[in-house]
């Protein structure tokens, strides 16, 4: 059950490039968190911007520490990056429909870009069988949590657009390779990253007669399913063949097969 909790900042430090790692003491939320869920954060000091910001829960531990990996992109994350140890911020969470964990005999294949690595870390950690992480980015410096995924251990394969590390290709190219390579095995696919990447991934899965779980990122307002700001088109049994589903409540994780691709 989601709650509101004052998260106390324990650490707020640079992780890599413009990515930062935020650790918050929020035992109530930690206890309830499932992989793929998010918190909706009110950033104190952002007086003239009133909406909360959603961040995936990257990790939780039994001491009640919740980890978020965020990228500084605008006014909110800018102010967040100046918040000091000891200060607090209000969190609503855990919110959203989580990933379903892979079965014992399934190999999880995670495809991630951007903060997607953070959003799928807890999934990888909690998966009983260890699997493969396909991580994509523009350039080496945007590849985050590579060590952490290797340590789980997950097999890490990387793709960069500029070829600065890993294969010089799109991460979805790695996905197609994996599908060919491991076609005999029982794979479970998961994805989180930029919209374009996820749509490409969904289509690849469907073309191959597969399914998977995709975590979508969308502008949010309430975060709890009340306002209908965050909708995406999903297939539906009506005249139009689609309806708008709320990313914050019915998602952020959707089955690739349930998404309505235009």
């Amino acid at each position: 059950m989601p709650i509101q909790e004052q998260g106390k900042i324990i650490r707020n430090a640079e992780l890599q490039d413009s990515y930062r790692k935020l650790e918050l003491y929020a035992p109530g939320i930690c206890a309830e968190t499932k992989a793929g869920q998010f918190v909706h954060m009110q950033i104190s000091g952002l007086r003239d911007r009133i909406l909360r910001r959603p961040f995936s829960i990257s990790d939780v531990n039994k001491d009640g520490v919740l980890t978020i990996i965020y990228k500084v992109v605008g006014a909110g994350t800018e102010v967040l990056s100046t918040q000091e140890e000891g200060s607090t911020c209000s969190l609503l969470g855990p919110l959203g429909t989580p990933f379903s964990l892979p079965g014992k005999d399934e190999i999880p294949v995670i495809v991630a870009g951007g903060y997607g690595a953070a959003a799928t870390y807890l999934l990888a950690k909690r998966a009983e069988s260890k699997g493969v992480m396909l991580l994509g980015a523009r350039s080496e410096k945007d590849l985050i949590l590579t060590k952490e995924f290797s340590d789980i251990p997950f097999e890490l394969r990387t793709a960069t657009e500029d070829g600065s590390t890993g294969d010089k290709c799109l991460v979805t190219d790695l996905l197609e390779t994996i599908i060919r390579e491991k076609s005999a095995k029982k794979l479970r696919f998961y994805g989180c990253g930029p919209h374009g990447m996820l749509m490409a991934m969904g289509k690849i899965l469907i073309e191959n007669g597969l399914d998977g779980e995709l975590s979508l990122d969308h502008l949010m307002c309430c975060g709890v399913g009340a306002c209908f700001a965050c909708v995406v088109k999903v297939k539906a049994d009506n005249e139009d063949g689609w309806r708008y589903a709320r990313t914050c409540k019915e998602g952020p994780v959707f089955n690739a097969s349930s998404i309505y691709y235009e």
Binding site: Q4, R49, I50, L51, L219, G223, C227, V231, V232, R243
Partner: protein, 309 residues
């Protein structure tokens, strides 16, 4: 003893703090966070006749001290609303007033929705007629900015139901008193205002409007002074109760609206920032009344001090 119950003519509320339509879903979405019974009333998201998709995305944009939205009234339609477990059946179990916000593309649709709700009115405290949504192509604000159309909608709905009627006015007019009087004459029991104010924002990199629908309705603290002025004008123009809303975030904000003449208030956008805002506002009102030795809301509703010179 401090009494914060409020009499809105045909119905009473245990306290004067309601949720604004469209910002609290159908109640259930917030039930995990606090007992919904604590609210004075729950006003649900606008209901029309058939299920409706609403507008394309992006539907919201954050702006300075507020937000734009063009949700476009996505909703289940009146039948599903009446019978699907997530909506009325759930709300019937909540021990507080339930107000159903309705809209239509034509006067007749308003009437039909009101009639259906009237037929199965158990658990419904009142209807709020939304003639002021800026985000739909047909109906909505077009009704709310034309005195004759506004009257026609209200008198049509009046004939379709015996439920108490609240009419929600548009801020997009030169004279609020004229509209307040027109809808009163057409038979509304209560007036509520303001709905969002049409606004716009443009992404200067993509050069696209930040809202797919081009315009969106502005809400939040940014509009509070405008809303307060309009509530003052409406309350001064008619004798029926007025429900005030627009940017209310704190108890102090709410008290300003009471002083301006609102008998009850609704909290909207503030809920997105803090779901507990309505409860904190109820507490704050009580504290203010205690400090000022007021025993009931009538001690300060409409009591703004105007120097008569």
């Amino acid at each position: 003893m401090i009494d914060i119950s409020v009499d809105l003519g045909k119905f009473k509320l245990k306290n004067p703090v309601m949720t604004a339509s469209g910002t609290f879903g159908y109640g259930k979405e917030y039930a995990d966070f606090f007992p919904l019974e604590k609210l004075g009333a729950i006003v649900v998201k606008g209901i029309c006749e058939k299920p409706s998709h609403g507008n394309p995305t992006p539907r919201i944009a954050e702006v300075t001290s507020g937000m734009l939205n063009a949700i476009g009234l996505q909703g289940p339609g009146v039948e599903k609303f009446l019978h699907d477990e997530d909506y009325m059946p759930f709300l019937k179990k909540v021990n507080t007033a339930v107000i159903v916000n309705i809209w239509g593309k034509t006067v007749e649709e308003y009437e039909r929705v009101a009639k259906r709700l009237d037929e199965e009115k158990e658990g419904i405290t009142a209807l709020e007629i939304n003639i002021s949504c800026p985000n739909i192509k047909e109906g909505g604000i077009a009704f709310g900015t034309d005195l004759k159309l506004a009257s026609r909608v209200v008198s049509g709905v009046r004939k379709a139901t015996t439920l108490p009627l609240i009419t929600k006015l548009s801020p997009n007019v030169s004279s609020i008193p004229d509209f307040a009087k027109a809808v009163r004459d057409a038979g509304t029991d209560v007036i509520s205002l303001i709905n969002t104010i049409p606004g716009m924002a443009i992404d200067i990199e993509t050069r696209k409007p930040k809202i797919a629908n081009i315009r969106g309705g502005l809400s939040g603290p940014a509009i509070k002074p405008i809303a307060l002025r309009m509530v003052y004008e409406a309350a001064g123009a008619v004798d029926i109760p007025v429900i005030g809303m627009g940017g209310i975030t704190t108890a102090e904000d709410a008290i300003e609206f009471f002083l301006a003449g609102a008998s009850a208030i609704a909290v909207g956008t503030a809920i997105f920032a803090d779901p507990f805002a309505p409860l904190n506002i109820i507490d704050g009102i009580k504290k203010y009344m205690k400090r000022k030795s007021y025993s009931c809301l009538m001690d300060f509703i409409g009591k703004v001090n105007i120097d008569k010179k």
